[in-house]
Symmetry: C2
Subunit: 465 residues, 2 copies
Amino acid sequence: MNIPYAPHPPLPAALIEDLAHRFTNRFSISQAVRDQHGRDESVHPAAAPDAVVFVETTKEVAEVNRLCSQHRVPVIPFGAGSSVEGHFLAIRGGVCIDLTRMNHIVAVHAEDLDATVQPGVTRKQLNAELHGTGLFFPIDPGADASLGGMAATRASGTNAVRYGTMRENVLGMTVVLADGRIIRTGGRAKKSSAGYDLTRLFIGSEGTLGIITELTVRLYPLPEAISSAVCTFPGVDAAVDTVIQTIQLGIPVARIELLDALTISAVNRYSKTTLTEAPTLFFEFHGSPSAVEEQAALVQEIAAGHGGMNFEWATRPEDRSRLWQARHDAYFACLQLRPGSRAFPTDVCVPISRLAECIRATNEDIARCPIPVPLFGHVGDGNFHLVVLIDPDNPQEVAEAERINHAVVKRALAMEGTCTGEHGIGIGKQKFLVDEHGEAAVDVMRALKRALDPDNLLNPGKILS
Amino acid sequence: MNIPYAPHPPLPAALIEDLAHRFTNRFSISQAVRDQHGRDESVHPAAAPDAVVFVETTKEVAEVNRLCSQHRVPVIPFGAGSSVEGHFLAIRGGVCIDLTRMNHIVAVHAEDLDATVQPGVTRKQLNAELHGTGLFFPIDPGADASLGGMAATRASGTNAVRYGTMRENVLGMTVVLADGRIIRTGGRAKKSSAGYDLTRLFIGSEGTLGIITELTVRLYPLPEAISSAVCTFPGVDAAVDTVIQTIQLGIPVARIELLDALTISAVNRYSKTTLTEAPTLFFEFHGSPSAVEEQAALVQEIAAGHGGMNFEWATRPEDRSRLWQARHDAYFACLQLRPGSRAFPTDVCVPISRLAECIRATNEDIARCPIPVPLFGHVGDGNFHLVVLIDPDNPQEVAEAERINHAVVKRALAMEGTCTGEHGIGIGKQKFLVDEHGEAAVDVMRALKRALDPDNLLNPGKILS
């Protein structure tokens, strides 16, 4: 798979001794703990770190970085482990910094619509803790990912069409650099023109420029009214055309998701739903009761114009939760379409005007493929996913998945899109980085990496090889 | 004023010859042309470049950069010249690249809600060209600034509370690096997780990391209904409390601007308006007719609760334009409060919960100051401006302005705010950069600068000294 796994020397005994002495039972070199930190949700071959430290403070992260830097040993941050592009696989060995114990909510500033959290806080945990404040945090990449990991991969999800991605929703962060220096990027002001945008530099840097140990995120008032609906279409084209028209008219839908017939059948089986097995859009509208009603009526009219049928509304909170849980479980539902398979996921994003054409051509690739390939995604942003369900031990199937991935990425790039809308580069998409940005821009990325991590110790081999 | 103006050698004759040969009558060393490019809207002492090149293409910018880089001569980009922090003053000499002839709209993708423009296109020009498409570009920093300059300073303005700043509204850019390499950052996809966020790195970098020669910006459907209003208050506090409550309730106002009584009196004189000379909020609501009506009713109720009086509506487009033109002319109106004075402007931004306290304390500074100091701003974002109207030849007045600037910035930073919400660092705010970000974060900025411009030739002495 052309992945830059590289042989590496064992950890220096002096480093093991220092870390064990400092972190006692929060330091582990047991095979079980290492293995648990060396395999992600995708088909990328496992690569366990040489040791794991369970840190509890920013200062501890700084200590680990400093020690590892003295010994020229890689460090790899670990959050919820929900990456699908091999982000935390220790392909050059090194010490894994497990941030899951840094899971405290430092402050909720309800009056300023922001919260400061440690990186191990997950999106569901944050929203649970916000219960009763009248506020919520909208970004939801399906998995119950950690906020640190979500910032590091510039994650988004179903609400991004209305609320933006992690790029738009982090005000500032605490970051530990390769050499252990601690910096704060950004304050709590909603906007600033004070110097280089370090916050955005670290968002999406996948742990290769610094380790995020605290972040201040934007919150939003819970909408007065919420209403969700599903609607089936005679074909994927008709569904996508509905999305395009909705976005072009500027209707502020909160969510607008496409699931193809295969994905719906997987969802029905996995989540015990009884959705019609046809191309389907999931909608959600947020606002005042009258605004929600107005938006819903407009979208219903657009959908009808494209043959949309069976508009079914979920207005009770429990029905809405059930619907969206089913949507979020689509990835795992798809895996069950072929028991024993692993997912080879890919994720591209194109300008909305090219979305129908892109999905249509991709469906031709899928039709020619002997393996099941469900298609679904955040089509309001022009972003969709394929999940190629392969037997990872069958080289022909791996090659077939690579072929489809290549085809869909090439197509997206030719349409001025991107090779990944929200999964990140990790190790899986490095081969497309120059195609997308050009050699000179990737050289700039390399220069930034060298400037901040001259010894290439922070999550080496990710984004840039 | 502690500004890093530095003596510098004259331009090498060989460089002058090369540039004159290459650019003929688009190259100038005339004193008049140089002077015109060496003085901004603020009190910063003029500093003319040694030469000016009027470029027409990205390739020409690359040629100038390459030639200047060979001779180790600074290059300074110039847009509309509307900076108030000395951004384009040639404090280390060098060649000014005038981008005003690069004022073509390259493409409008109405169906994707984006447009690609050259950097010399101004915001008014873009909106004029969008006439008839049903779309508009919302960012409006008062002055009819160029979009390249707006990106370079991370500009925002009155609509930012609803539509965000340049940070949120640029999809991608073409940038020429110090050595003449041309890169493209970002595509046209609405979101991407493909590598480091080079777009955001150059936004707000004030010409110190690269020169922006093309940018793709987001457009928005013109709201179906727009309505504007002014409302006066018994005091600044009452007005600010109205703003805070509006924002905390999540009412999606498009604009919510504060002008103090002194500013209103200046506006009345300059723009021949007849506004009540009291603390005043200017509002604008965008949406469907019913949404606008609903938002306006809510805000009117909030304002009434704080003693807001004389809610006056401007629904006809010409009345609205007149109102907002008056708002945008506030800066120039203020200058006329004291004929012959120059403006010492400052601009801070704080979390909205601290805004009332910040403005109250600042008003105490103003009350103690013998010079007129109008206060106004984009309070929906927690951002406000002071314009200290000084005689620049009177050292005591300059010192007084410095004192007020210091006090308000220190106060904003103590409140987790920023020393500049939208004007940028330029030369005027460098002294606050470490106070705001800390030495280690500013060191990271220095490392980025060295990585991309090792010879310190791109707009040297700005942001970082």
